[in-house]
């Protein structure tokens, strides 16, 4: 097999020692797919602007792909000092090899202090490889940052949201951090009256460096159930215990005139079809009412429903992270609570 990428010995070498004469800069690497900017990139721009305001480090941005001029121009309208358009025909379809190769070239040349990216499936796929190739680390899935006495720390959740951790870098630059979807508001990305200059960087990527051959992106069968328009959602998690117990959640959903949904483990077990799954790998919903039954509130689920207007959570564990975002919380056994709730809802409906 040709071109095995970077060897461990190369990974240990630092690409360039830190140059104290170079001012610290920051780089936001935005994400494009099929020639369109992924909107979550604006959240990372907002994060970068906030860190720039705190540290005084100038903020630059980059986009990686093929024929990405229009995207670079879109980003250049925001308050950033510069935009790098990293171009190659070999970057047209995403591969971790080509993306890591191209970005390593850019970063080795520019040596920013801090590199920020959204914590998307694509970034998760290549950023640990990129950082390792440069002998550096990634603080992944951050929800915020703090700049205290000249020290930058990133906040991330641990133990499925039970704890938060402030994490700092203990290595030379560049530092890599990824931000969780929704951690910053994309609509707060500041525009600028002056358009930032765009520098196109054409990278030569040897064909042998790319080992994976990706096929077309596709959607599995047509989504049969569209929960994005639902006004009321009753959603079940592991706390439902057995497949046959789904029935009481279904009855509650029917009584409320709402739709039934679930967290990932329920769909993984085949208790409900995949198209009823809420979360990062399923649908993102924002109903008037989201009733979470026996859902602990793992972050992969929360990202799919935290925009709901009102969240009611029923869970026997008073420490469950779902209570962090619930408007109303019931600590108790859902099998005790749900049957009388169905009856009360029916009564209220009958009374009109």
């Amino acid at each position: 097999m040709a071109a095995l990428g970077y060897s461990p010995s190369e990974a240990r070498r630092s690409p360039r020692t830190e140059n104290s004469f170079m001012p610290d800069t920051m780089l936001v690497v935005t994400e494009q797919r099929e020639g369109k900017l992924n909107r979550v990139s604006w959240e990372t721009v907002t994060a970068g602007q906030a860190i720039a305001a705190a540290t005084g480090w100038p903020l630059e941005a980059a986009v990686v792909g093929s024929a990405i001029g229009p995207i670079a121009a879109e980003i250049a309208a925001k308050k950033v000092a510069k935009v790098y358009a990293v171009e190659s025909p070999k970057l047209e379809r995403y591969t971790p090899d080509a993306f890591a190769f191209a970005l390593k070239q850019l970063l080795t040349a520019k040596m920013p202090k801090l590199v920020l990216m959204p914590h998307t499936y694509q970034v998760r796929d290549f950023v640990p490889k990129l950082a390792t190739a440069m002998g550096r680390a990634v603080i992944s899935d951050c929800i915020g940052f703090k700049y205290e006495n000249g020290k930058l720390v990133f906040t991330r959740q641990m133990f499925q949201g039970k704890f938060a951790a402030d994490v700092s870098f203990a290595s030379d630059a560049p530092w890599f951090a990824t931000f969780q979807n929704g951690a910053f508001r994309g609509d707060k990305a500041e525009p600028d009256a002056t358009v930032a200059p765009v520098e196109t960087i054409n990278v030569e990527i040897p064909g042998s460096a790319i080992r994976n051959k990706p096929q077309e992106v596709f959607k599995e069968a047509k989504q049969a159930v569209d929960l994005t328009q639902a006004e009321i959602i009753v959603s079940v998690g592991r706390g439902i215990k057995e497949q046959k117990n789904i029935e009481i959640a279904k009855q509650l959903a029917e009584a409320l005139g709402g739709d039934l949904a679930a967290s990932r483990p329920i769909c993984d077990s085949g208790w409900l079809p995949m198209d009823r799954q809420i979360g990062s790998s399923g649908q993102t919903v924002a109903p008037k009412l989201y009733l979470a039954l026996g859902i602990s509130g793992a972050i992969q689920h929360i990202v799919g429903m935290k925009g709901s207007r009102t969240i009611i959570a029923v869970n026997k564990d008073s420490e469950a992270p779902i209570f962090e975002i619930a408007d109303y919380g019931v600590v108790g056994n859902l099998f005790d609570i749900v049957p009388p709730l169905i009856e009360e809802v029916k009564k209220a409906k009958a009374a009109g």
Partner: protein, 256 residues
């Protein structure tokens, strides 16, 4: 095919966790289980072996208690196990953990290396990809299907929002496995019995120490997150709770 499955022992999902005065989490008096995506990774390895013959090896790093994860894997059908046994391993970041794993398998040639897509405790979602880079292998993440073919494998990557993608790749390769890729099996009584006689190689900290450097990231403090939303607790007997909730639904949320 010779397949390595990297597994991690994590606190049980509903285990209450506490912090001590120094802001470290208390590891004693906690029930542990196998990291869920790792269980799916093991199941996938066993299925691939059943289809194509070969060997399934499981590896973990952590203190003596972590051996339980390996024993369970052997009982389910893994052929042998490797345990990097030391308390110090739990303090390593993803970069150093991957280095330690790479060092422990340096004399082996695997066709495939599986990890779960992320751990339920720290959730870095990095160790597998870092390991691939250290070994010089190609990788693919969040995998929902694996088919062997003449040139290597075709895998199905899960993307966001219900999208998927097939990727062809050569072997050897590292794959991070998504929960739900298959249906988990239970260990049989015979399997549990046989597991006792299967080889389990222990690797000491000293054996891999030379490749481990300082952590590249440092947890400055660990704390219980501050609530950003005010949650109104609804209390009482089940029927009282039901009445109170319906009152909210009717008069405050106006959805009834």
């Amino acid at each position: 095919m010779k397949i390595l499955v990297c597994m991690k022992q994590v606190p049980q999902k509903d285990a209450p966790l506490k912090l001590n005065e120094t802001g470290a989490w208390i590891r004693e008096d906690v029930s542990y289980e196998v990291n869920e995506p790792d269980a799916y990774a093991l199941e996938e390895a066993l299925r691939q072996k059943e289809k194509h013959t070969g060997e399934v090896v499981v590896i973990t790093s952590g203190p003596a208690r972590a051996q339980q994860v390996l024993r369970e894997a052997l009982a389910k059908g893994a052929d042998r196990a490797i345990h990097l046994e030391d308390n110090a391993f739990v303090g390593l970041d993803a970069f150093n953990t991957a280095k330690a794993l790479a060092a422990a398998i340096k004399d082996e040639q695997f066709d495939l290396i599986f990890t779960g897509l992320q751990s339920d405790d720290y959730g870095y979602a990095q160790t597998g990809v870092i390991l691939a880079e250290l070994l010089g292998y190609p990788h693919a993440t969040i995998i929902m299907q694996i088919e062997k073919n003449d040139t290597g494998i075709r895998v199905k990557r899960e993307l966001e929002a219900g999208f998927f993608q097939f990727v062809d790749m050569p072997l050897p390769a590292v794959l991070t496995i998504q929960s739900g890729i298959n249906k988990l099996r239970y260990a049989t009584l015979i399997g549990i019995k046989q597991a006792k006689n299967k080889p389990l190689r222990k690797v000491t900290l000293a054996e891999v120490q030379s490749v481990i450097g300082d952590n590249l990231q440092k947890i400055e403090r660990l704390y219980v997150p501050q609530k950003t939303k005010k949650t109104e607790r609804i209390e009482g007997s089940p029927s009282e709770i039901a009445k109170k909730l319906v009152d909210k639904l009717r008069n405050e949320l106006r959805v009834l």
